[in-house]
């Protein structure tokens, strides 16, 4: 991550930014959620012994005894019975040193069942429970049956129709606004070249989704200050709408403090349906006792649209800020922390997790 190789990319013209904007707005494909790698890996299998009951009428009694004496524990996602066959134990539980057979294992662990089985066989079963219907269909083999409780939200994230058409249009509008902001930014900063968009700099737009209002915008300044990546600036600009802020935070604070005014005028002309400004921030003592306050808190409930996949510093900043969802258009193959180099949103021990979407281009 430390050194970005000097990539020579063809010079991008302003015309091409327009092409991006048109492309983002007119594409019809749905966005793609970036989810944990565990859903892509095949489910591991493990060997188990199953036994055929001599007397099918005994099955319920056999299962009762087995669940007590030889519980399935980590294999509890598997059905204990299939037709006349009963799942007994993992093959590795048999004593290798004494060359214990499955009949001996039953005799040792559950003697009352020593005559219950006519014959045994060894089969492969999935070691972990399937999380997706696709995995379930893959591993619910003819050999054995698996319990499966589909997670509706997860199934939807994996479908290619996650966002309804109306929402998709909104997300595409906000991402096109990110590129429009990039265009404005480049026209103001002659030092920054158009091709820097894809390697050097970034743009972050923070949106309050229920009000469809732009709360803050971060314009990358990493060439002027090593911490001032677009997302870090956007987080600080959100703070300015909440009576706070750390970088150039001396001025008066109000609901529009998160956005450069010139830029806002520029965007207002092009995006007439988009609102600007945060919800009014209330200090603790301004909130009436017992009243339901919905004063904004950090980036809680806010969506963040980024031109490029954020680096690890920015991605963790967005976790600290409790962003609701993160959208990005361009992969950051050298430093990206949500898809390319790691997937911070999938680290379980973190105290906040946001959903991540891409697929705008």
């Amino acid at each position: 991550m430390s050194s970005e190789p000097p990539i020579k990319r063809p010079k991008i013209t302003e015309n091409e930014i327009d092409k991006f904007i048109t492309g983002i707005m007119t594409a019809e494909k749905n966005l793609q959620a970036i989810l944990s790698d565990e859903y892509d890996k095949p489910i591991p299998f493990v060997k188990v012994f199953v036994g055929t009951a001599r007397d099918p009428k005994e099955l319920s009694k056999i299962i009762q005894v087995l669940n007590d004496k030889i519980p399935l524990k980590e294999l509890s996602h598997l059905k204990r019975v299939r037709k006349k066959e009963v799942l007994l134990c993992q093959s590795q539980h048999l004593n290798v040193l004494t060359q214990e057979t499955i009949q001996e294992y039953i005799e040792h662990n559950s003697p009352e069942l020593k005559d219950s089985f006519q014959y045994f066989r060894e089969i492969d079963v999935p070691l972990t429970p399937p999380k997706l219907r696709r995995q379930y269909l893959e591993c619910n083999s003819k050999m054995w049956s698996v319990n499966f409780h589909p997670d509706k939200q997860l199934e939807r994230l994996f479908s290619d129709s996650f966002f309804p058409e109306y929402d998709l249009k909104l997300h595409r509008t906000f991402m096109s606004l990110v590129f429009e902001t990039a265009y404005w930014y480049l026209s103001k900063h002659t030092k920054v070249e158009l091709q820097d968009l894809f390697v050097g700099i970034n743009i972050a737009v923070v949106v309050d989704p229920p009000r469809r209002s732009i709360v803050a915008i971060g314009l990358d300044n990493r060439q002027g200050h090593p911490l001032q990546h677009a997302a870090m600036l956007a987080i600080d600009n959100v703070a300015k709408t909440q009576n706070g802020g750390a970088w150039d935070a001396d001025g008066a604070k109000n609901i529009l403090s998160g956005i450069n005014l010139d830029l806002m005028m520029h965007l207002k002309e092009r995006y007439r349906q988009v609102m600007f400004g945060a919800k009014q921030y209330l200090e603790k003592n301004e909130i009436r006792e017992g009243s339901k306050s919905d004063s904004p808190y950090l980036c809680t409930g806010y969506d963040v649209y980024l031109l490029r996949e954020p680096c690890l510093m920015c991605a963790m900043g967005l976790v600290h800020a409790r962003a609701k969802r993160v959208f990005f258009a361009v992969d950051n193959e050298f430093m990206g922390a949500l898809k390319s180099k790691t997937k911070l949103q999938c680290v379980e021990s973190l105290n906040h997790h946001f959903d991540v979407f891409t697929g705008f281009l």
């Binding site: 987080i235 600080d236 706070g244 306050s293 800020a321």
Partner: protein, 163 residues
């Protein structure tokens, strides 16, 4: 070394008194303190204003004002911080090619070594030493988390649905 960590602990104590998460930090060159700070997250309403970030800002501004090459300057800095730097701060410190980081207690929630090892993403990273006056650092954190973060809103009964 212990003296410098004591100073960082003092700063963490100041954070606690100001109702901030008690983490303190000093930046040093050749054993001399060149910057010191603590968490100012609640005061700034900016959740990224960790002690390390505040120190980086201070040192960067100092270099700029005095025409010092900040890249060389940062590469000579040893950081003393009461809690293992989080993933964000560890990345920022790695980007600046800091020489060394010495911390008090580990950070199980979002440590830049314990939770995600940031050094995996760098060809070369700072040397990292932990467990220096860890009990003192931990005691401050425990004191803070016994109370409630005064700036966090009360938990809503109805949990916001994801997405």
């Amino acid at each position: 070394m212990v003296n410098l960590m004591h100073r960082a602990l003092q700063l963490a104590g100041e954070a606690l008194a100001a109702k901030e998460v008690p983490v303190g930090c000093v930046f040093t060159i050749d054993g001399e303190i060149i910057a010191e700070s603590r968490n100012t997250v609640n005061a700034t309403r900016n959740p990224t204003r960790h002690a390390e970030i505040n120190c980086i800002d201070y040192v960067y501004d100092y270099c700029k004002a005095n025409n010092i090459d900040y890249q060389i300057y940062f590469s000579n800095i040893t950081v003393y911080v009461t809690v293992e730097p989080c993933i964000m701060c560890a990345t920022a410190l790695s980007n600046l090619n800091i020489r060394e980081v010495i911390y008090g207690c580990a950070n199980d929630r979002f440590g830049g070594k314990t939770v995600v090892d940031v050094s995996n993403y760098y060809i070369q990273s700072y040397s990292l030493t932990g467990n220096i006056l860890a009990n003192e650092a931990m005691a401050l954190l425990k004191q803070f988390y016994k109370g409630v973060n005064p700036n966090a809103p009360e938990l809503k009964v109805k949990k916001d649905k994801k997405v």
